[in-house]
Subunit: 194 residues, 2 copies
């Protein structure tokens, strides 16, 4: 039986990128189905009264070293983004605005752009380039992400995550159990056996 | 050659307890020397402008579940302390006040009392019992922990940790590199090979 893991993410989160890369090698080997759940990490932190590590000098320094080390240990291509943190609102709304068939490609290209290729995914030229790679219509994309419905949807998804005790990214949910952080991917996978 | 890992701890920290239990099985197999570095976690958080997970509803809930799960996966006896968090000032000052030959035993008994036996290690009767097990003189102990010198020493150790970019517990330091959290014990051990 195929088991599902909900994977809460924001493209801005380096640990979400690292977790995603780990899942890529897993998916080949196992029958786990990842359901990607977009949230706005900044909004979620605000709701939870949490100061992100990016805004604490020591935590930021540690996070950078830690991510580089995790990438090395897991053979993941990774560059600490020179523009971290950015506003991920447009690119996250974009994920919601596109048709389902494009989501997986968009998901991977956005993560790679930010955490592998050191691009600023809040920049419209960079977004244009991502859309070209995904063969998505640019005009339609930029219209849609300004749409009130899309704006509300991302807000609601973030609010719902908060209501379900989620406070960071990546977060994995299996059997209603919450596993926070790329370090807990293995525990989430274990939970799939139950 | 025996390699050393500095292990920053506070008895109040559940992840420090879990890391300590992991090292116990390691020490038998390897030639790693752990140098215990007491710090006051509350003070360190204050210096770093960090709100401890214990004071955030969602983080607290997650931390409890997470610790229980880590203990299960690693066959570590663990009970979430019913009085968490407490003031660890006396018991931490105590670690500094006793002679070196007693430190290892005191270290283990304090951690077990708080995270295995659900005792309140800020309570003087519980401390009395710990001192009896360590064969330490109670009168001398309670006099010493009120000593200005001991108070200053713990403050200075915490300030020094902060100056060296440490912001949480457990933290491992090897070759001047910082590894934060029980999840990074393995990385710290890998670093010993360099």
């Amino acid at each position: 039986m195929t088991k599902s893991i909900e994977f809460y993410f924001d493209f801005i989160s380096p640990y979400s990128y690292l977790a995603f890369k780990k899942t890529k090698s897993l998916k080949v080997k196992s029958s786990i189905n990842f359901i990607y759940k977009p949230i706005l990490l900044g909004g979620l932190h605000k709701l939870g009264g949490i100061t992100a590590p990016a805004f604490n000098e020591r935590k930021m320094k540690n996070m950078k070293n830690d991510c580089i080390l995790i990438a090395q240990k897991n053979n993941i291509e990774f560059i600490w983004n020179s523009k971290f943190p950015i506003n991920s609102l447009d690119i996250m709304r974009g994920y919601l605005s596109i048709e389902n068939e494009f989501k997986e490609k968009y998901f991977e290209i956005c993560f790679n752009a930010y955490w592998k290729n050191d691009l600023d995914i809040s920049n419209s030229e960079v977004i244009n380039n991502i859309l070209e790679q995904c063969k998505l219509n640019k005009k339609k994309f930029f219209e849609k992400i300004k749409n009130e419905e899309i704006k509300e949807e991302l807000k609601e998804l973030t609010n719902n995550a908060f209501k379900n005790d989620i406070f960071g990214a990546p977060t994995f949910v299996v059997n209603k159990k919450i596993f926070w952080g790329q370090d807990r991917l293995e525990y989430a996978l274990d939970e799939c056996k139950n």
